[in-house]
Amino acid sequence: MRTFALSRDTFHILVALADRDRHGYSIMQEVSARTGGSVRLSPSTLYSAIKRLLEEGLIEELAERPDPAHDDERRRYYRLTKAGRKAAAAEAAHLEKLLADARSSGLLPKRS
C-alpha cells in the first residue's frame, strides 16, 4: 500500500490554494474554516511548510498581486503550480479510495 506522500498540514495548504491564490494568513484562515477549527497552523508550521512546498515546486510565489483592489501590498501571495495541483489531486484520489474501502468493508456507513 502506498503511504501518504504529503503530510496532513501540507495537504491542507494545497487544498486551501486550490480555488484561488492566497497569502499566508488567508491560507491559515481557510484551513481553519475548512476543518471547522480542528486544524490550526502556527505561523512557524505554516511558513516551514510553505518554504518546503516552494523548494519542491508544488507552489510558487506570485510576482504580481492577484486583485489590487483587495490586495494588501505588504503580503506575499502563493499559487498552486501544475505539479502541486497534480500532487494534491493524487492525494485526494488516494484518500477517496481509502474512504471507499472503509465504506465497502462496513467500517463506515454507506452513503445513501
Binding site: G24, Y25, S42, P43, S44, T45, S48, K51, R76
Partner: protein, 856 residues
C-alpha cells in the same frame, strides 16, 4: 508581545529569518487582531511561540542536511583532494588518539579500587637528594600511625617472593608482607575470610596468609571451604585466613599476602617499606601531607639519629605513574605537533581549493546565497572531512595500540587499562570537531573578508591569489616546516639518549650470560651450612655441564636493582648527611670469572674467603679513595656512622662494570664473599649458547632437588633490553612521529611551491618571452623555496633548542644541544626541503611562453 515574538525568531537560521521573519510576524499580528478574547489571544500567542520552538531546530537541521548533501557531492567530485585531506587528518587524529589512549590509562583513569582518589602513598624523602624517597622506616611509621588523624586506614608493605609447593614442580609466587592496615586501605572486602589482625602482624606472629583470587582459582579450584586450610610454601606452611576479591592486585602482580612481622623498636634508618593510606572522607591529600610532615618532624626530634628526611603524602596514582609521566607528556606534545602539521596541510589544501572555487562562490552569491551561507557551507565541508578523518583516525589508533604495546617487553602493572573508554571516545570526537573547525576557519575567514565585487572580478580570470592569502599560506608552511624540524630534533635526542642507555659499556658480554632466580625451599636450606652445601654443589655440577663456561652466585644479578648501603672508608669518617650509598653485592667464587671481569689488583675470592670480612672493590672506588694504588689491605665498613658492623679488608680490585639498573646513578660496587648470613639465590652462567644449555641446567637443577624452581630467566642482553624499554619506546614512537611529520611537511612544502609556480605561470611565460633563461626562472623558484625553508629552519632550530631544554631531565648522557642532533636533523630537513622543491622548479623552467600567454 510581538516584540518578544520577533526576538524569538532569532532561533531560526539566518536565511530563513531574512526570508520569512516579516511574514511570520504579520500573520501572528493578523490573528491577534481578529481575536478579541484576551484568553484566546494569549493562547494564539503561546501557540505561535511553541511553533517556533518546534520548527526552528528542524529548519537548522534542514539547512545542515542540504549543506552536507552538497558538501558530500563536492567531496566526491574532488576525490583526490578529499582522500589527501582525510588521509592526513586520519594520521594526525590517529596519532593523537593513540597517545591519548595511553595517557588516559596512565594519568587519568582512576586506579581500579573503590574511591581510588582517597588512596595515598606516605613516605619519607631526603630533601637534599630527591632520589631517596618512596619508603618509610618501620618505627617511624608505627609512631605516625598512632598519631595521624587524616587516615581511615594506613599500612605498610614490602614485596617479596616465595614458591608454592606442588608435586608437579613448585610455583613461584609474588607476595607482599603487610601490616594490618594495608589491605583494608583499598576499600575492598575479602571475597572469603578476613584480613590480618594487629595480633598477627608482630615479630614471630602466627603464620597466616591471604590468597589472591587467581592463585585461589589456579591452585585451589576456587574451593569456598579454603579458609582455615594450609598453604604449603617453600618458606613453610601458612594457614589461609582469607581470599582477596577477583582482580585485586597490589602491589603489582602480587598474589599472596602474609603478615609483616617487624619490630617497632628496630633501626630508624632502614628504608625498604612502602606505605599506603586511605584518607578520611573530609581530608584532602594536601591536609594529610601537612599533618604527616609535622608529625614526622616531631617523631624525628624525639629520636636519634635524626636524618632530616621529611614525611610526605601524595596521591597513590601520582606515585605509581611517576615513572611514566614525562614520557607520556612528551608523546602527547609530539602527537599534538604532528596533528598541527596535518591540520596546516589540510588548511592549505582548502585555501587553494577555495581560490579555485572563487567562481562557484561568486555564482552562488549572484544567485542570492548570503555570505553567512557560504561560510556555513565551508564549515560543513570541513566538518565532514573532520568526521571522516576522525573515524579513520580512531580506526588507525585501534590498529596502532597493539603495535605500540608490542614494544613493551615487560609485564605492565595490573592497574594499567588501555581499553578505550568514554573519555577516549569524547577526546576523538572533540578532536575531530576542533580540528575541522580549525582548518575550515581559514578559508572561511578569507572568503568573508573578500568583497563580493572582488570575487566576481576574479572569477572571470584565471586563478589568482591575493597577497594576503599568499602570506597566510607562506606563514602556514614555514610553521609546518619548523614544527617538523622540531619533532625531528626531539626524536633524534630521544634516539641518542636511548643509544646512550643501551649502548653504554657494561663491562661484560651481556649476550652470553644467562641469569636466573632460584627458589629453594627455605625450610630445608636455611642460611648457613645447608645453604652453603647446596650452593657449592650447584656451582660444581652446573659448571660441569657441556656448553657452560663458568657459573657464579650473587645477591644482585647485574642490571637488576641492587642493595644500596652507606659505607665508611677507615680513617675517613663522614657525618651521616654526607655519606653516600654503594652497591652491596654478596657473591660466590666464580662471579668475576663468569662476567669475565678481570681482577686488576690483589686477588679474586676463593672458597677460603667464605664468611670472612673481606671485600673486593671496583676500580673507580679504588681510584677515588686510593689514587696511589694502595687499596688492597685497607678497610671499609657498612652502615651509618655509629653502627657496630665489622670492618671489611680489601683483598682485590675488580674491573668496573654496570651493576644496578641501566639508568641508576652509577654507584661504587663493593663485593663481599658469601657467608652463613646470606642465602645466594641469583645464578649467572656464561655460555656461548644460552638457549641450548637452559634445558640442561633445568634438568640438572631438578636432579639435585626437584623443589628448586627457576624464575626470571633472562640473558643479561634481555635484561638490558627490558631495562631500556621506555627509552626505546620513546625513541621509536617519536621517530615514527617525526618521519610522518617530515613526510607531511615535505608534501605541504611541495604543494605550496607547486601552487606558487602555477600562479606565476603567466609571469614566467612573460619573462621567458622577454628573454629570461631557464636558469633565471630556476633561481626565482629556488630563491622562494630557500626563503621559506630558511625561515622554517631558523624557527625549527629555536623550537629544537626549546624541546632539548624541556626534556633535558629525561635525556641520559646527551646534551640538550647535542651536536650530532643539531647537525643531522637540519641536514635531513634541508635534504627533504630540496627534494620537495625539485619538481616545482622543473615545472617552472619548462613553461612554454606561448602556451602560458595563450591563457590570457
Amino acid at each position: 508581545m510581538l516584540t518578544f515574538y520577533r526576538a524569538c525568531l532569532r532561533l531560526y537560521p539566518g536565511d530563513f529569518r531574512d526570508e520569512y521573519a516579516r511574514e511570520l510576524t504579520l500573520v501572528l499580528a493578523d490573528r491577534l487582531r481578529d481575536e478579541s478574547s484576551p484568553v484566546l489571544r494569549l493562547a494564539i500567542w503561546l501557540h505561535a511561540l511553541l511553533g517556533i520552538l518546534i520548527e526552528a531546530p528542524l529548519e537548522h537541521l534542514r539547512v545542515l542536511a542540504a549543506d552536507a548533501r552538497y558538501a558530500v557531492r563536492l567531496l566526491r567530485r574532488e576525490t583526490s583532494v578529499t582522500l589527501a585531506a582525510t588521509g592526513m587528518l586520519a594520521l594526525g587524529i590517529g596519532a593523537a588518539t593513540l597517545v591519548f589512549t595511553i595517557a588516559n590509562a596512565i594519568l587519568l583513569r582512576p586506579l581500579p579500587f573503590p574511591s581510588a582518589d582517597r588512596l595515598v602513598s606516605i613516605d619519607e624523602y631526603n630533601p637534599a637528594d630527591r632520589r631517596n624517597g618512596d619508603t618509610v622506616a618501620y618505627p617511624n611509621f608505627v609512631d605516625l600511625r598512632g598519631r595521624a588523624r587524616s587516615f581511615e586506614h594506613i599500612g605498610v608493605y614490602a614485596d617479596g617472593k616465595s614458591a608454592i609447593r606442588h608435586p608437579d614442580g613448585n610455583e613461584p609466587v609474588l607476595l607482599a608482607a603487610v601490616s594490618e592496615g594495608f589491605l583494608p586501605a583499598f576499600g575492598v572486602a575479602p571475597a572469603l575470610g578476613r584480613f590480618f589482625t594487629a595480633e598477627e602482624t608482630v615479630p614471630n606472629g602466627p603464620r597466616v596468609a591471604i590468597l589472591g583470587y587467581s592463585l585461589f582459582e589456579r591452585r585451589f579450584g576456587a574451593d569456598p571451604s579454603i579458609v582455615g586450610r594450609a598453604l604449603n610454601t617453600v618458606d613453610g606452611t601458612f594457614t589461609i585466613v582469607g581470599v582477596m576479591p577477583r582482580g585485586f592486585q597490589f602491589p603489582n602482580l602480587c598474589d599472596l599476602w602474609v603478615p609483616l612481622g617487624m619490630d617497632a623498636n628496630g633501626p630508624r634508618t632502614d628504608y625498604f617499606l612502602s606505605a599506603v593510606g586511605r584518607l578520611r572522607e573530609d581530608v584532602s591529600s594536601h591536609d594529610a601531607n601537612r599533618e604527616v610532615a609535622m608529625l614526622m618532624a616531631q617523631i624525628k626530634q624525639q629520636h636519634t639519629p635524626n636524618n632530616g628526611w621529611i614525611g610526605r603524602v601524595q596521591p597513590l596514582r601520582d606515585v605509581l605513574n611517576a615513572g611514566y609521566r614525562p614520557a607520556v607528556v612528551l608523546l602527547l606534545a609530539a602527537a599534538a605537533l604532528l596533528l598541527a602539521i596535518a591540520c596546516a596541510n589540510v588548511s592549505h589544501l582548502l585555501l587553494v581549493k577555495a581560490s579555485a572555487r572563487a567562481r562557484e562562490m561568486a555564482v552562488r552569491t549572484a544567485m542570492g546565497a548570503t555570505r553567512r551561507r557560504l561560510v556555513r557551507q565551508l564549515v560543513t565541508e570541513g566538518l565532514i572531512l573532520g568526521i571522516i578523518g576522525g573515524v579513520a583516525g580512531a580506526f588507525l589508533a585501534s590498529l596502532g595500540l597493539p603495535a605500540l604495546l608490542a614494544l613493551v617487553p615487560i609485564q605492565l602493572p595490573s592497574w594499567l587499562d588501555f581499553s578505550a573508554d568514554g573519555r577516549v571516545l569524547a577526546f576523538a570526537v572533540g578532536l575531530s570537531l576542533a580540528t575541522s573547525l580549525a582548518f575550515a576557519c581559514l578559508p572561511a575567514l578569507n572568503l568573508s573578508r573578500r568583497s563580493i565585487l572582488n570575487r566576481l572580478k576574479d572569477a572571470g580570470r584565471a586563478v589568482t591569489a591575493s597577497p594576503r592569502q599568499q602570506r597566510l599560506r607562506h606563514a602556514l608552511i614555514v610553521l609546518e616546516l619548523a614544527v617538523a624540524l622540531t619533532l625531528l630534533a626531539g626524536a633524534s635526542l630521544a634516539a641518542r639518549s636511548f643509544m646512550a642507555v643501551r649502548g653504554q659499556p657494561l663491562g661484560y658480554q651481556a649476550g652470553s650470560i644467562l641469569s636466573m632466580q632460584l627458589d629453594y625451599p627455605g625450610d630445608r636450606y636455611p642460611d648457613g651450612a645447608a645453604a652453603r652445601t647446596l650452593v657449592d654443589r650447584l656451582r660444581a655440577e652446573l659448571s660441569a655441564l657441556p656448553g657452560v663456561r663458568s657459573v657464579g652466585f650473587t645477591t644482585g644479578i647485574p642490571l637488576n636493582s641492587t642493595w644500596g648501603r652507606l659505607y665508611t672508608v677507615e680513617g675517613r669518617d663522614l657525618p651521616l648527611e654526607q655519606m653516600s650509598f654503594a652497591n652491596h653485592i654478596v657473591i660466590s667464587p666464580g662471579f668475576f670469572r663468569t662476567l669475565e671481569l678481570p681482577i686488576v689488583r690483589g686477588r679474586d675470592f676463593t672458597d677460603a674467603d667464605y664468611g670472612l670480612p673481606h671485600l673486593i672493590v671496583d676500580r673507580r672506588f679504588a681510584e677515588a679513595f686510593f689514587p696511589s694504588g694502595d687499596a688492597v689491605g685497607r678497610r671499609v665498613r657498612f652502615g651509618p656512622p655509629k653502627s657496630r658492623e665489622p670492618w671489611h679488608t680489601i683483598v682485590g680490585v675488580a674491573a668496573d662494570s654496570r651493576q644496578g639498573t641501566l639508568k641508576a646513578q652509577a654507584r661504587y660496587n663493593l663485593y663481599l664473599p658469601y657467608s652463613k648470613d646470606v642465602s645466594l639465590s641469583s645464578l649467572i652462567v656464561r655460555t656461548a649458547a644460552p638457549g641450548t644449555v637452559l634445558p640442561d641446567i633445568r634438568a640438572r637443577l631438578r636432579a639435585i632437588d626437584r623443589e628448586i624452581a627457576t624464575d626470571r630467566v633472562f640473558t643479561l642482553e634481555e635484561l638490558a633490553d627490558r631495562g631500556a624499554w621506555q627509552d626505546r619506546f620513546l625513541a621509536v614512537v617519536s621517530a615514527s612521529f617525526a618521519i610522518l611529520a617530515l613526510v607531511l611537511a615535505a608534501g605541504g612544502f611541495y604543494a605550496v611551491l607547486a601552487y606558487a609556480v602555477s600562479l606565476r605561470t603567466h609571469e614566467i611565460g612573460v619573462r621567458m618571452a622577454l628573454g629570461a633563461a631557464a636558469a633565471d626562472v630556476r633561481r626565482m623558484v629556488v630563491s622562494q623555496a630557500l626563503r621559506l625553508a630558511g625561515a622554517g629552519l631558523a624557527l625549527g632550530l629555536a623550537g629544537a633548542a626549546v624541546v632539548g631544554f624541556l626534556i633535558r631531565t629525561e635525556l641520559y648522557q646527551v646534551s640538550p644541544i647535542d651536536p650530532v642532533t643539531f647537525v643531522v636533523a637540519p641536514a635531513v630537513f634541508l635534504l627533504t626541503a630540496i627534494a620537495s622543491a625539485i619538481l616545482p622548479t622543473r615545472r617552472a623552467t619548462r613553461v612554454d611562453p606561448l602556451i602560458a600567454l595563450r591563457h590570457e
